[in-house]
């Protein structure tokens, strides 16, 4: 095939604003590109458009009110953030959760990983011009959101779970929907996969685009699928296991050249692995007492409303929780989980008050987005757009 050279600007650089509101950014952040014709010479990112000062707000909130802040970090997979936060608090307070809670959490976390990845992979398709796959697979995000809805009543900003477990047991509708997901999802997913992963046009658009070596990716603090696409098999679920991830059988897919195609393929394979983890967790649940859904930590969790109206103890704990009567220990803990985009870390420093003295969110997006200029220098403009969507930059997580 004969390739034509893209036109250059004959040495006259052009400044092009990609964002803050632009369909290609899929969120509010700006890229100021310096172009020479069709070729990206350099780019500078401006972030902070939806900065909401979560770390500051958290210093004035009791622990249970911070869960809602974590929802809004990576809002494509809120339950993952919620679970990560609850686990951090449990580490702080030395709370052990029952095994069934761990299994339920794993199911929820892997479901949200799938919903997070499927948006990213289908959006890569959209940015390459293949809208059909996106329209086709996107219904499954809707169906996963219905599972969340059955569990906690909310869809996107879920505020799911409580310290020590869940606010209520999973209702039968949730299990029906999970069962439906397990029976039907893979067929649609494989169809979607066959539309893109061996599609000549898609491969030409994504292979060798926005590459980064494993070494550079590590230097830039990459984690998650983007790091694994560059060939480094770091996964928090394996390196620093939590929620009993050590007992599941799953593979960590890795890429070769850290290109947009590798990032797409790694995410696709992770969806298959997550699916298998959910199946394993559901199978393990059969041996557990179906009535267990939390551990008893009354001082930190609001009691059920009916109990508040009828039981003295519950009323006392209701007030104690709302008024922050229970003092936290003086500790510094760090907990991290494998979120949709990589290592989502919570550093929590408490000095004995009723709110954290310092809470730090390690937001994977914010850290790896720095590498974008290096990844697109010398690329075509359309390649820069695909690189951006394959990195899965989520503005909420970027700005906190």
């Amino acid at each position: 095939m004969e390739t034509t050279k893209p036109p250059t600007g004959q040495g006259n650089p052009l400044t092009l604003n990609l964002g803050p509101t632009h369909p290609a950014t899929h969120g509010i952040f700006q890229n100021v590109l310096t172009m020479d014709g069709e070729i990206v010479k350099d780019t500078e990112q401006t972030v902070g458009y939806i900065h909401r000062a979560f770390e500051k707000i958290a210093e004035r909130r009791p622990l249970y009110q911070i869960t809602t802040l974590t929802d809004r970090l990576n809002y494509c997979s809120s339950p993952l953030n919620n679970m990560g936060w609850h686990m951090t608090v449990e580490k702080l307070l030395d709370i052990r959760v029952p095994r069934r809670v761990e299994l339920l959490r794993v199911i929820i976390m892997e479901l949200s990983r799938i919903s997070d990845h499927l948006i990213c992979t289908s959006i890569i398709g959209v940015d390459a011009g293949a809208l059909t796959g996106f329209m086709y697979i996107f219904q499954w995000r809707e169906l996963i959101y219905e599972i969340y809805e059955a569990i906690c009543g909310a869809r996107m900003t879920t505020n799911m779970g409580r310290v020590g477990g869940f606010e209520r047991n999973f209702p039968p509708e949730a299990w029906e929907k999970i069962d439906n997901f397990l029976r039907k999802y893979m067929k649609d997913f494989e169809e979607f996969d066959s539309m893109l992963s061996r599609n000549r046009i898609f491969m030409d658009r994504t292979m060798g685009v926005g590459t980064i070596s494993g070494e550079r990716a590590l230097a830039y603090g990459f984690t998650g699928p983007n790091l694994r696409a560059a060939g480094v098999d770091y996964d928090v679920r394996v390196a620093h296991p939590y929620s009993g991830y050590g007992e599941y059988k799953f593979d960590i897919p890795i890429g070769v050249e850290g290109s947009a195609y590798d990032r797409f393929m790694v995410r696709q394979e992770e969806i298959r692995q997550s699916f298998s983890i959910i199946q394993q967790a559901v199978a393990k649940l059969k041996d557990e007492d179906p009535a267990v859904y939390r551990s008893e930590v009354p001082a930190w969790v609001l009691p059920p409303k009916e109990a508040v109206y009828s039981e003295m103890e519950a009323l006392i704990y209701h007030f104690k929780t709302v008024m922050g009567e229970t003092r936290m220990p003086t500790r510094e803990v760090y907990h991290s989980i494998e979120a949709g985009n990589g290592e989502l870390g919570f550093y929590l420093f408490t000095d004995g008050g009723r709110t954290p003295a310092r809470l730090r969110f390690r937001r994977p997006c914010f850290i790896y987005y720095q590498a974008f200029p290096e990844m697109v220098r010398g690329c075509l403009l359309s390649d820069a757009v695909i690189t951006l969507s394959s990195l899965n930059i989520i503005a909420g997580e970027l700005d906190a």
Binding site: V47, G48, H51, A53, E55, K56, I57, E59, R60, K91, R216, L218, A219, Y220, G221, V232, Y234, A239, H240, R331, E332, V333, Y334, S336, E343, G345, Y347, F349, G353, R354, T355, R358, R360, R362, F366, I367, Y369, Q370, A371, D399, A400
Partner: protein, 165 residues
């Protein structure tokens, strides 16, 4: 802290290690002036090999119980081969909040240091582009310091005595 790890840290850091604790992540307290050398030594050592910068962020410790007001910096490192973490912690006076930049060692530190500067006013010597990142550049305060109020203090319709920290 694990004896073997402590011995290794003692070998590499010597008297740069002021104190240590290991309630959760093993933590070493150092002087702010030693930060760059310490991180570089931990990076280059073949056994410890803390070569992944996980996180870097600021702290603010208000004056309390006779102690003067201080800022702090926490650096979270990871050795990916052994899956071990290490936290470096340093504190320094708020009057001279300056430490050496880690950006020459880790490109990832670039934005983390800009964020720390933005919110705590910690200046990083040798940083290539130390300007605000999440807040507007014309801002004149460092909002994560404890003395910066969360809300507009001129409001009279809210009483935070009951629910405030």
């Amino acid at each position: 802290m694990d004896e073997a790890l402590l011995a290794e840290l003692g070998r590499v850091l010597g008297d740069r290690m002021l104190s240590h604790e290991s309630d959760d992540v093993p933590t070493v307290c150092i002087r702010a002036s030693d930060l760059y050398d310490t991180v570089e030594a931990l990076y280059n050592d073949e056994t410890l090999a803390y070569r992944f910068l996980t996180d870097l962020f600021g702290m603010h410790y208000p004056a309390e119980g006779g102690k003067s007001e201080e800022l702090g910096l926490q650096v979270l490192l990871c050795n990916m081969r052994t899956s071990t973490r290490l936290r470096l912690s340093c504190r320094f006076s708020i009057d001279s909040p300056e430490v050496a930049s880690l950006t020459p060692l880790f490109p990832a530190a670039n934005w983390l240091e800009r964020e720390t500067y933005d919110f705590f006013g910690i200046r990083f010597k040798g940083h290539p582009n130390l300007k605000r990142i999440l807040n507007i550049e014309s801002m004149s305060v460092f909002p994560m310091r404890k003395d910066f109020p969360l809300e507009d203090q001129s409001r009279e319709d809210k009483d935070d005595r009951m629910f405030g920290r």
